[in-house]
Amino acid sequence: MGLMRRFSNIFKAKASKTLDKYEDPRETLDYSYERTLEMLQKMRRAVADVATSRKRIELQAQQLQRSAAKLEGQAKQAVSQDREDLAREALTRRQAIATQLTDLQAQHDQLKAEEARMVEASQRLQAKVDSFRIRKETMKANYTAAEAQTKVNEAISGIGEEMGDVGLAMQRAEDKVAQMQARSGALDELMASGALDDASMSSDRLQAELDRGFAEPAVEAELARLRGELTGGSTTAKQLGAPGDDAAGAPAAPAPAEAPVEEERR
């Protein structure tokens, strides 16, 4: 048997289970109608779930984009300081973020498509629910004729098939959302661990090194100035004391420590 026959039979089997539920087809009509209303509710919740999942991915992407921009700035800063090692580290991290962003974009597109499909499906279901509500009352009134009974069965099978189809779509969407949520959670953990840089965390060490890169030349210059004053200048105690006062005001610790060493050598 071909695939489409097998596929169809499964749907038919489902629909006939609904038909067998009550002996009186009029009761089956009411039962089916209640089920479609429930299904419509479930469908709306499922659409909301997909939208929530999509928004979470959007937030993560924004966060990653901020991190990437920050790392880019740090890489530039590092290059301007001739710190190729730091620039390399910043760019490597940015690269890892770019990979994650590409992955997120793909997930986002998938969810967006899923959302659009579900919105369409719920609109179709809504149209059927409205039309079924009107028809079921007419059918119940005319139920006595054998022909009417056939129509009732047809309508119930039809609505049952629609429910099966919507149910299948919903299940697929739920599976996808669950999958995405697991991946989002994993990404959150990755960001929190600092393995993937999150702007506020592991880049601090990188930033500290870069800041030191700016501070160090100033400290070196101070040191050189002190050395110059000590070796080139007069050796009187009074003059020795003066640079010592200067060094105390210098930003780094090494300078004051240097002065006594110079003194000992003398």
């Binding site: 071909g2 695939l3 489409m4 026959r5 097998r6 596929f7 169809s8 499964i10 749907f11 038919k12 089997a13 489902k14 629909a15 609904t18 089920r35 299904m39 498509a113 499909r117 499906a121 609109q123 179709r124 149209a127 059927k128 409205d130 039309s131 079924f132 028809r135 047809e154 309508a155 099978s157 039809g158 609505i159 049952g160 098939e161 629609e162 429910m163 099966g164 189809d165 919507v166 149910g167 299948l168 779509a169 919903m170 299940q171 697929r172």
Partner: protein, 92 residues
């Protein structure tokens, strides 16, 4: 004949088109049996395109059973096998 494309809606397809659908269905069945995803995708798309081209889409408020139900356009080979293997997958 009424054909449903899962997740997409129902189409009225002229009875004279059945042979063509059966031919495309053979390709799809072979693809599912072989497990080749690219082949499956191509065969499914061909079958659905044929229904959409020849068939007339039924209005959303039309209520009635289909003679044939086809998998949705983005169904994977894995999903189709799951549905075929376990009818419990279809709620309703």
């Amino acid at each position: 004949m009424i054909v449903r494309i899962s997740g997409e809606g129902q189409f009225e397809v002229p009875d004279g088109h059945v042979d063509e659908l059966n031919r495309l269905d053979d390709d799809l069945t072979k693809a599912v049996d072989s497990g080749d995803d690219a082949q499956f995708r191509g065969a499914l798309e061909a079958l659905l395109a044929s229904v959409r081209t020849v068939g007339q889409e039924l209005p959303a408020d039309w209520i009635g059973p289909s003679d044939l139900v086809l998998p949705s356009p983005d169904a994977t080979i894995h999903e189709v096998r799951e549905v075929l293997g376990d009818e419990g997958l279809i709620p309703g």
